[in-house]
Subunit: 159 residues, 3 copies
């Protein structure tokens, strides 16, 4: 059996760029495909992390849940239309093991309402574990750690 | 005749960095020099793009128009003094052909008024076609696609 | 005696990333260690720079002053708790000489209050002189040039 080539930092960063681009361009149907099947996606806050609280703002523990989430969002369509714009700062490699790469990346997300109003929505860090699967890089886990604990109750679109 | 070396991603990115730096440092006289003579510069909105509307917030179809624009801005001087600060996120290569490179880049622009007030001004994407001319990289076309459709009527300084 | 290897752009950029990460994660005690002993740290404004005013919002002319500053901040603890999130745009090499590298980098800093309120705090440029000392890169000088002249009087946490 051939060994799987370890994920490089450049590949991990390209995955993250494509991930935020898919969201920012409104292609939410693609969102689950950035993850492996046995994945974990979690939005939490810095305060929760530091105090060791197990609370999450959003938690999906496999890819099927990601699909459900997007389907619900698109069907319900109850939220006021808006889009995001993510800006990424530099990434830091946290660890590499068994071909998986763990990376932390500061980010900022702007929210644009259909009325045109643009606001600084959230800032924080992505903590991503990236693996290669069927020749393509994907997230095995993605933890979105928000700086602020006062979050808009309505995070309809994933971050 | 020697072939012209294709524009690399690193060169394209350095051009974009120098472009936003020239604007942010108030060196508007340099602005047209980032473009080839037969260039296109256009500011539009995401909504216009998606609906296929030909509307532009600003449109210059050659370098002479860029010079006119800057001259008018500097002479008229009717606008309230302000400056910008651009923050670039990662670039994505869209296509490469005949030595030209087309690249999409998310950005955010902050506006600082002379009173000191700092505001999140606009977010969006640069869609840039970059070519090499006389040994230097320049924009053959630059499309600034803004996320919001509600734009300050006064875009005096180019984006 | 062996020559000291010149500081590379990648090393300088990693230093800057680690520097802002230490601040953003609240590890202020590490802050002075990013500088050599005979260092200069200065926060100023673009207006001051352009008019040649010697005024600084904050000025430390050696590492001991950086330690004092952090100690005072942590002991006094009079300010309303808050944290920062820095976003870095592209860096530009200004000069290289005697192994030292001087680099300019646009940045944006978001401030998150303990109440959860997130605001665009400041934007500007880092002008950094980076040297290698005992095998590690550090700042010999760091000039933080803010775009706005109207700064919150309370810059308790360094930028």
């Amino acid at each position: 059996m051939d060994a799987i080539a370890p994920v490089t930092q450049a590949e991990a960063r390209a995955l993250l760029r494509d991930y935020v681009n898919a969201i920012d361009r409104g292609r939410l149907g693609e969102w689950p495909n950035f993850f492996v099947d046995a994945c974990s996606y979690r939005i939490t806050t810095r305060e929760n992390e530091e105090r060791g609280f197990p609370l999450s703002i959003m938690l999906c523990s496999n890819r099927a849940m990601l699909f459900d989430r997007i389907e619900a969002t698109e069907k319900a369509n109850i939220f006021e239309p808006h889009s995001y714009r993510h800006i990424l700062s530099d990434s830091e490699i946290v660890s590499e093991s068994d071909g998986a790469l763990t990376m932390r990346t500061s980010f900022l997300c702007v929210r644009i309402m259909q009325t045109g109003e643009t606001m600084l929505f959230v800032s924080g860090e992505y903590i991503d574990e990236i693996v290669r699967e069927e020749g393509r890089c994907r997230f095995r886990s993605k933890r979105v750690v928000l700086d602020s604990s006062r979050i808009d109750t309505l995070i309809a679109i994933p971050l």
